[in-house]
């Protein structure tokens, strides 16, 4: 071991802009990306600086991927299922209904062949993808009235998008697209019947408990939604290899930190919500079974007509089935026992 002299870092000064799809109020998501940019700077002796911009500061939140592809910004932090409308295949890098849990998604991407499949797909869109966070299983949203049967879903105006909206439509739900800022008033007036967001920690800030107190779980359309960093592939290729390594290594820290922060913050937020009137429910078996059937049909139909989707879906499906079988042996019995023991 040698004593360390003052480090004279020899890398080039590089300045990038990161567009986030999220507002600063989503501090768990936004903050984990700050941890990423801070770490990249530290790793490069302050030479590689990535400035982060919230949704709307450079581009609207739902156009982050487009901005990275166009080179407006070099890197973006977003959720791939926002781009479901371009091609449902994008959703595999985030979540599809009844998809992988947080841990399973990470296993699939890092060690189950997922990264290779996704890199190949995103390369065709001019992007390099990196895992950068997960929320864990989300909540199923806030409902003005109890929903017990599939019949109760008929005509329900639910603020929900993408794959989940398509699945819900088959059960008679009328998916609604309204801006986030209008959700509270729409629920209060009854213009919509339900809305879903994330989980207790983020949901609490919206105050929906006052206007739609029935709080359902689980959000089966987001068993383990992953957030990602997308880098413009031409900018990526210009980087020295140490800077590529800095982005890769720091993305793992961001990935760990976001899930950890959600896990650490959700329990107290849920307790406060319940104290403030939230009525906690689990979706009935009838609703879960019907949702699973329709979601599976939609995935299979998409696989039938979309070669890019099919190429990922088939190995993904095998991975998911194997994971759930293995989870049934040790992990789930352990978690279920810990839950029941904790109730005593």
């Amino acid at each position: 071991t040698v004593a360390a002299p003052v480090l004279a870092q020899g890398g080039p000064a590089i300045s990038w802009r990161l567009a986030s799809s999220f507002p600063k109020t989503l501090d768990t998501i936004y903050g984990s990306a700050e941890r990423f940019t801070r770490r990249v700077a530290e790793l490069t002796g302050g030479k590689f600086v990535i400035r982060q911009f919230a949704a709307g500061e450079i581009v609207p939140g739902l156009q982050v991927m487009d901005a990275v592809q166009a080179g407006t910004v070099e890197i973006g932090h977003t959720a791939s299922y926002y781009y479901f409308g371009k091609d449902p295949t994008f959703a595999f890098d985030c979540a599809v209904p009844f998809g992988l849990t947080s841990r399973q998604q990470t296993a699939w991407v890092d060690q189950g062949g997922g990264r290779e499949l996704l890199r190949d797909f995103f390369k065709g869109h001019g992007l390099i993808n990196l895992m950068a966070g997960n929320t864990g299983t989300q909540m199923g949203g806030w409902f003005r009235k109890e929903i017990k049967t599939v019949a109760d879903l008929k005509g329900l105006k639910f603020r929900i998008a993408g794959f989940a909206g398509r699945t819900m439509e088959r059960m008679g739900v009328v998916p609604q697209q309204i801006p986030g800022g209008d959700v509270y008033a729409a629920l209060e007036k009854g213009t919509i019947d339900a809305a879903e967001w994330v989980g207790p920690y983020d949901d609490e800030k919206l105050g929906l408990v006052k206007v739609a107190p029935h709080y359902y779980a689980p959000g089966w359309w987001e068993a383990g939604p992953q957030l990602s960093l997308y880098v413009n592939i031409k900018e990526w290729e210009k980087l020295p290899k140490e800077y590529k390594a800095a982005i890769e290594a720091a993305s793992f820290e961001c990935h760990v930190a976001m899930q950890a922060e959600y896990d650490a913050r959700n329990p107290a937020a849920l307790a406060r919500l319940i104290k403030n009137g939230a009525k906690l429910h689990t979706f009935s078996k009838e609703i879960m079974d019907a949702s699973f059937k329709h979601a599976t049909d939609i995935m299979e139909e998409e696989a039938g007509r979309n070669a890019a989707f099919r190429k990922i879906y088939e190995p993904w499906k095998r991975f998911r089935n194997d994971q759930n079988q293995w989870a049934s042996v040790a992990e789930a019995p352990m978690q279920n026992f810990l839950i029941s023991a904790g109730r005593k």
Copy 2:
């Protein structure tokens, strides 16, 4: 953005040795540490080189922490519960019976106050601790005969150590300490009745299915055992800050990769084991309940007499209880539904 010139890395050349507690045959654990050392080298332009040594190459596997403390090596990769005999407080950095799952442990360390509590404890032992992997809930081991009731445990010679051994003793088990290489022969001859190791992927290599086919789950003494890197604190303080950052960032990658690799590899290994005669069982509710009671008693007793243990145990216990309550709302119902849907 600037085009990147050839990088002239300005950091000092530093060479460290990493002692692993594990043999190369545990390729999931050993390999994730290789990913750590490789990433550190990449991040520092090849200037900070950490050479890894398997158990026994420099020091025996169970003396890795001592070797780091003594400065024989600068860094070690080990499981803190191996040092349970010095002080049971060490175990919180790995696993205690009915402790945190993999995701909960990560949340506790990174965002739940765990890192601060553990850093304070390890600092007193001359070490800096970093999370560096997890196996997920382990299996409960291989048994020559079925074990249905607490009465069946009486007199059972079980190769198991530490906290788990102490808990088992209260139910009449006789914990055995025999070298890993002798386990197969001891089970074959009936010198011991049962042995536990890790999970399907690692267990398969030992071939115990042939001599003790009853394969139990869950390993309640290891709900989510964490592996850690320990750095000699004096060596740590000599590092330039970019090299400290490299160790920290690379440790997150190692942490993600190990759990992901276990998750990805266990399902196929379990299928092969079952094909080769493994009889899968879940510990009975009677055994789980009794084990939980004894484990809780032992933790409380230790907290009563050991201030270092108590200082971590009290906030840890609150964190665990909150986590399990939250898990019962969304994550566990989702996982349980996915398991049941996959069986159809």
